[in-house]
């Protein structure tokens, strides 16, 4: 998504990225980034907490006004409601990131992509 943001921005459309993987987004480099220190899957706030979500989205949009240079990162002082244990366990052998079904689906997508590449060459 960072690559898309860069392309839109380079072609005249200002962008804001709201995301949870700070190092990945900053490694790529995007114009404006609101970092939300929440688990992958909840960049705009806790599920079903509309007030929090609205605050996060509004803070993200405020970067259109406040950011004056590319590579601006803003961070909200928020803590995941169920604690920060997820930070210790994400991408560890104890918690396989993808379910077995998701791994199978990924293999199907990969195969489909390869067939499309062959078909288009």
């Amino acid at each position: 998504m960072s690559l898309v943001a860069r392309h839109l921005e380079a072609n005249g459309i200002p962008t804001v990225v709201i995301g949870t993987a700070r190092d990945i987004v900053e490694h790529c480099g995007v114009p404006r980034f609101l970092f939300v220190d929440f688990p992958l899957g909840s960049p705009c706030g806790t599920p079903f907490d509309a007030e929090m979500q609205r605050d996060i989205v509004e803070r993200g949009l405020s970067l259109f006004d406040s950011a004056t240079e590319p590579g601006t990162t803003s961070e909200l002082a928020l803590t995941w409601p169920n604690g920060e244990g997820w930070k210790e366990t994400i991408f560890t052998p104890e918690q396989p990131f993808l379910s077995e079904e998701a791994v199978k689906n990924w293999e199907v997508r990969k195969q489909r992509y390869r067939e499309q590449q062959v078909g288009s060459s």
């Binding site: 960072s2 709201i18 705009c44 989205v57 006004d65």
Partner: protein, 164 residues
């Protein structure tokens, strides 16, 4: 607690599983920047996500080609009732959270509320999904231009991007 260093964490995770080559994340020294041309309260905002959002199907109708093609961008009407949408995304922390609330990663209702509050001028008639792929070339040469085309078709002034 410090934020998660995903690049290191993911590299170690897959090395432990026997993968020999670690993924090289995109990196650039230069970052483009376009200033806002008018007040945010007058801007038309579009939304792009990688949530792989789809409309719940009453039957077993298969997904469209564009929903299934890596590197493709597809769009849905913003007026689609949120309760009829779901995410097919499987890459998220399934132990810590859920994708049961669309607005936690595809904030279509929240953005409508910000139109009512006059924080932004309007939203586009559609929101967009970018089908993520591992190939940086595919994302830069196919997905990104497709996303730009949709933004232009929708006369978007600015874009909010939410990677899931």
């Amino acid at each position: 607690m410090e934020h998660v260093r995903y690049i290191e964490r993911i590299r170690d995770y897959y090395i432990a599983q026997g993968y020999e080559k670690s993924y090289e994340w995109a990196h650039f020294d230069e970052i483009p920047f376009t200033s806002l041309g008018k007040p945010l309260s007058e801007c038309r905002v579009t939304l792009l996500s990688t949530s792989d959002v789809s409309v719940v199907r009453a039957d077993d109708a298969s997904l469209s080609d564009e929903e299934l093609t890596v590197g493709a961008v597809y769009s849905l009407p913003w007026s689609t009732p949120p309760e009829t949408l779901y995410s097919r995304q499987e890459s998220y922390d399934r132990y810590a959270t859920s994708l049961d609330d669309i607005n936690a990663y595809l904030p279509i209702t929240r953005l409508e509320e910000l139109v009512s509050a006059e924080v932004i001028g309007s939203v586009t008639e559609r929101f967009h999904n970018v089908n993520r792929g591992y190939s940086k070339r595919l994302m830069m040469e196919t997905a990104a231009p497709a996303a730009l085309e949709r933004c232009r078709e929708d006369n978007a002034d600015v874009a909010l991007l939410v990677p899931v």
